[in-house]
């Protein structure tokens, strides 16, 4: 019994990471109907930004919430800027081009960042600086609940709720929904489409930044290809939950994490990645719009 509970906890913790990254995919998709494959590389750059930032500002000398906040700020800023740059230079020129062109560009940007990362940061894994020390919060028998796990989980949920509120209750959010609905009509209504899309990229990318610091603390090994697999899985999670749907991304992420954990625990680790993509095929076959995705026109 305790073992099962532990597996469920492990799965939820892993899933929370996927959820956090999946939110970024879903945000951009909701507005542009573009699968931003470069998102996982923005996440990778975020990890390196906080790595170098932590060294620069000697954050590991006095680890704590202060150092953590600085690392987070550095990572989010760098990620937002990178997201903005990608949108401005890679996607905007293609905004009126067929969707397939933008998709291929997204893959191109992703590969470009991965391999430039290998040149700039070096291909050997770095050890993520310990800006915050992990500790055990609760112990029930054999089951321990770790600070990082709780933090990641809470951040994923809070980010989802905050985004949901932002999209549905604020003026900018309304503009985002309008652009998502039809950006030509939105332009006619006097909405600055470029600005709205930029906001979307800033939001999505800074989420990747938050994710990179949290994951870096939990699994302190970062390398230029670290985003590839986690990005793909988060993308599957977003599709699973219904791409374009914020709560769906979180549900999809958690479900992915749980399924993966169960496969590793009771079948074999060999099937770990096969499962993710098996799920994707399954979902596309039986419920193409995902668990929470609706076939209505309004997205985000």
């Amino acid at each position: 019994m305790q073992e099962l509970v532990q597996h469920i906890l492990n799965g939820l913790n892993l899933g929370a990471i996927y959820a956090l990254i999946a939110l970024g995919y879903t945000m951009v998709y909701g507005v542009l109907q573009l699968i931003n494959f470069a998102h996982s590389e923005v996440y990778m750059v975020g990890a390196f930004a906080s790595y170098y930032g932590a060294i620069q500002f000697h954050l590991t000398e006095k680890p704590g919430w202060g150092a953590f906040a600085i690392a987070l700020l550095i990572s989010m800023t760098v990620c937002s800027l990178l997201g903005l740059a990608i949108e401005r230079f890679a996607y905007r020129p293609l905004r009126n081009a067929p969707k397939l062109n933008t998709l291929i560009t997204a893959i191109g940007v992703s590969l470009f960042l991965q391999f430039s990362g290998q040149v700039v940061f070096g291909a050997d894994p770095k050890v993520f600086p310990e800006v915050l020390q992990d500790s055990t919060l609760y112990t029930f028998g054999e089951i321990q609940i770790q600070l990082f796990d709780v933090t990641i989980f809470v951040v994923a949920i809070v980010a989802m709720l905050a985004l949901n509120w932002f999209i549905n209750k604020t003026k900018t959010g309304m503009a985002i929904r309008a652009v998502s609905f039809s950006f030509r009509s939105a332009t006619l209504m006097g909405i600055n489409v470029n600005w709205i899309i930029a906001v979307t990229f800033i939001l999505g990318s800074s989420l990747a930044g938050v994710g990179s610091v949290l994951v870096g603390l939990k699994y302190p090994k970062i390398d230029p290809l670290m985003g590839t697999l986690i990005g793909l899985k988060a993308f599957v999670a977003a599709v699973l939950g219904g791409i374009g749907n914020l709560p769906g991304a979180v549900v999809g992420g958690l479900l992915m994490g749980l399924c993966e954990e169960m496969v590793v625990a009771y079948l074999s680790s060999t099937y770990r990645d096969a499962l993710a993509f098996g799920l994707l095929i399954f979902i596309l076959l039986f419920k193409p719009s995902g668990i929470m995705g609706q076939t209505r026109v309004e997205k985000v």
């Binding site: 073992e3 532990q6 597996h7 492990n10 799965g11 913790n13 892993l14 290998q118 070096g122 291909a123 050997d124 894994p125 050890v127 310990e130 992990d134 112990t139 054999e142 321990q144 770790q146 699994y219 302190p220 090994k221 390398d223 697999l229 993966e260 954990e261 169960m262 590793v264 625990a265 074999s268 680790s269 060999t270 770990r272």
Partner: protein, 382 residues
Amino acid sequence: MRRLNQVLVAICCVLSFACTKKNEGGGSEAATEIKVGQYGSMTGGEATFGQSTDKGIRLAIDAKNAAGGIKGKKIVLITEDNQGKPEEAAAVVKKLITQDKVVALLGEVASTRSLAAAPIAQQYKIPMISPSSTNPEVTKRGDYIFRTCFIDPFQGPVMARFAYNNLKLRKVAILKDLKSDYSLGLSEFFAKKFKELGGEIVSEQTFQTGDTDFKGQLTRIRSSEPEAIFIPAYYTEVGLIARQTRQLGIKAILLGGDGWDSPKLFEIGREAVNGSYFSNHYASESPVPATQDFIKKYKEKYHETPDGLAAAGYDAAQVLLLAMENAPEITPTAIRDQIAKTKDYQGATGKITINADRNADKDAFIVKVDGKVLKFVTLLGP
């Protein structure tokens, strides 16, 4: 017009690349040089393996060159990075043989990559010495493939004996890497011997190189209540596994093999790896004069304490240099014959004798992780 400019720039780029290639290719000094190739993981998940090995090899070769080289010729070491990928190892070895025309090859640490390169070396009949690949299959690829370290059918049982006799452990779990020939081989030989001695393997779990989350496997292992977990893997994964083991509240002792030896082990694993034991090619605290002499020279050159892979690289290079010295002429075949005759060479990692299977008969050091220091525990023979 703009289009035309872009095309012109592109053409210029291609031309300038072509020109640099040509300049590099001028190898007219070949008559006064002996070229030796080294391929290793200078980058990638096991980067410290390649870097340490390269440093050890360079130490040996530079010393030889300073003493006048071999038969009046200077030895030139050409190092190629395989990024830790087997397919890349095969590609760079082919390049070293066909383009650089090396007379001998040194490498690799990881068995999977040595296995990828060995058939090529054998095909071109270029002698290859692996400093630290321990999977038994490596030298079975042909009579030009050697190694100067022990093999897993020896290393696994040594660790099993140490766990059973010295640590008095009876219940051990295994967590192995499905993608690594080294990990699979070592865990098999360990399990066989441990069961033979009367111990019990209570759980056997797997992962794959590059994984970062091991909690599923470790939770399974926790339920089987082992006294120790044997993790035959490389340091990056070991560090992450050790951390997650402690996060799950598992107090079992962690055991491993020579793949643990890296300065990064402690950096990634932190306190979680302390108190673990692993079998290694060398221990810096070994009282053997040859070892201490190597450490002194290494520290003078690089200002750091060498790890086991640096020592193993140094020894492989020394064996190769000795063979070249003794060879009547510097040809791959003549060198091969001399390597095969290596007997009782006292290296930094122990006495090296190449046996009929082209492996070295050597003792294994057991070390204990204590922060960044690896404490020498005992020396175990066959």
